[in-house]
Symmetry: C2
Subunit: 425 residues, 2 copies
Amino acid sequence: MSTEEAPAQQQQVKKPDEPPPAAAEGPQESAGGGGGSPAAEEKTLSNRALVLTGYGGYDKIKLQEKPLKSPQLQPGEVLVRVKACGLNFAELLGKQGLYELLPSPPVVLGMEGSGVVEAVGEDVKDRKVGDRVIAMNRSGMWQEWVVVPAQRTFPMPEEMSFEEAAALPINYMTAYMMLFEMANLRPGKSVLIHMAAGGVGVAATQLCQTVKDVTVFGTASASKHEVISQGGVTHPIDYRTKDYVTEIRKVSPKGVDIVLDPLGGSDTQKGFSLLKPLGILIVFGAANCVTGQKKNLFAMAKTWYNQLSLNTMKLMQTNKAISGFHLGYISDEELFERTLTSLLELYRQGKIKPRIDSCYHFEEVAEAMRRMHERQNIGKVVLLPEPKKKEEKSEVDAAENVEKNEAAVSEKKEEEEEEEVKAEN
Amino acid sequence: MSTEEAPAQQQQVKKPDEPPPAAAEGPQESAGGGGGSPAAEEKTLSNRALVLTGYGGYDKIKLQEKPLKSPQLQPGEVLVRVKACGLNFAELLGKQGLYELLPSPPVVLGMEGSGVVEAVGEDVKDRKVGDRVIAMNRSGMWQEWVVVPAQRTFPMPEEMSFEEAAALPINYMTAYMMLFEMANLRPGKSVLIHMAAGGVGVAATQLCQTVKDVTVFGTASASKHEVISQGGVTHPIDYRTKDYVTEIRKVSPKGVDIVLDPLGGSDTQKGFSLLKPLGILIVFGAANCVTGQKKNLFAMAKTWYNQLSLNTMKLMQTNKAISGFHLGYISDEELFERTLTSLLELYRQGKIKPRIDSCYHFEEVAEAMRRMHERQNIGKVVLLPEPKKKEEKSEVDAAENVEKNEAAVSEKKEEEEEEEVKAEN
């Protein structure tokens, strides 16, 4: 339901008078006006968008102008001016052609963001112009303007920043559903969180703190241990220098109750072996497939070959459970709403707080993705639609610059990255 | 830890003066006497036991006299005079050589029972002579006298009968751990219970009633629907005449949240297909392997061939979980104790009550097993060590009689049973 697809139908549009980027801050004064006759009031909104133009390296993502012609809202839809967007591992996969839910290029990337409602379609009763909202969509969130179903927007708590709001939905819903819907996290349990410094890792660690006496084993490179310990990881483990299975057995000879596995391949086998009886392993990614910047058939084959394949007899003899989780395949709107409502309540109570690793303007998307790809982040990498101000820019156009440098450095990077197969997204 | 294995060591034994069966009711008067010098007071207890003498038909189980010579209790052990025993599907499998946890024949069968403590070993503080207890062991419970670790005994509520106590442990612990430890049964969820009239089925149905708004789909032959409906099954389904997948989809197009699967094979695949996203299927048996009275290689191969084999990618795309459960492979004593304590509390509150289908004396074990094998039971089949009284007997010795008749009827039965592959144990 990206803006490009919004059909021209009967509607009740409230449009900002001035097109962006000049009108960059807050809801437009005129945005609260009544709906008009669409045909008569057709206007065009300037709209910067990050478009995946093909599969491959960072250069495949282009910052393009995709003007929005008189956004025609269908009943139940809202127009949102986006203030911040979340970067997810799914976009790294999508760039390589490994995310099957992403439409074929050219396509605007992005699954989550935050912003301000600028117009509402018919039948939208619980959102109004000026509302600060979290917004989600299957793709198309990485642009200045989006049209989404109102039920895919959620009012932000007053004290929440746009960056926090963009960082929350995917990572926290993933962690929440895994820990509380699939697994049965209760007091006294133990959890292994891979990539504990990544977006989902930080979210899962915080959610574990909402339950009494939960022991968290978290893998991350040593430089991040102080931060993740403060965040709630009981036993940080440097997977680069130590075998995490051995380290966990030292502390807990019987293993752990829950394993959250975003890696796949042989790590799934290790995680399964670490489970206590009645424990559950949840595979929610195949980060081991992603090594270099482009599709790596060898890494994929290796991950596929090593993936855990189980029959039910084996499960019975070990009293273990294995499951898969992929937020993208969940279409239960009521579940989304219930989960996000619970998360926003936890935020209001001060029990969770998205950790923003860094913010990049759209022009810097390649740097943002590289930061996540190389597992340099601790917490969420956020993208900002607002153009980088002149004084902030080091060059004429950072995005262009990045694209040009890309080819030169990518080969070297590829090699380096092969050494960093697993890490903390 | 069957009585045969109890080594002669330092002990503190309290023995009944008279050997059974003459002293059949209640704790022996002399049982409360002080411990003596074992060597000096060696006595022999008469002890009727049901022994599996080889793999095959009902005739392989013999009622034998296995006198207990001066039971030497190790520290922490208790001597229990057994009043009632539970029959489980595991013994049907064991008889066919399909239960890998059962020691090789000859072996005394039985995993659960109830009775009265007649002697306690050293260091036993929380059990005393005269206590009415539930007792569990890996095997060897089907005899008049058993020696078990005190921690494998649990005091019975006053209002509980020995028959109820023998019916509770295996079935209810299995159902409880599956529903509340592995699955995450909560208000509003739906559960498919195969063989809903069987021991585990009745237990699971009752436990589902302890949670608000749980919908139970239960398979059973039509003649049992009234009883299982009264027991709490929301939608009874006659699997013999209807396709349960179709029937469930009619009521709940999205499927169910939890499937308890004691069947295996193609039913596991059907159950998996019925799961809602975030749902879990728990395989806890392979009843489809058991068709005729003896090992059926064709049924086993078919069940094995059709068993669900999954890779993690498939689990991710469907957001489903699969697990196995087998109480026999759980060795966590604290978990046993915690679970049984919860169950006894639910019994005291009147929320669960074992349903006794029928009671058979040891002499009638073949009839008891056949009743379960042919899925005639609704609830638990119980075995009684106490000899059948003369007036109850139709012949000189029912057990002998059964053995003799066995050969004649078994061939015909085998054929009939092939038609009843699945049903409600």
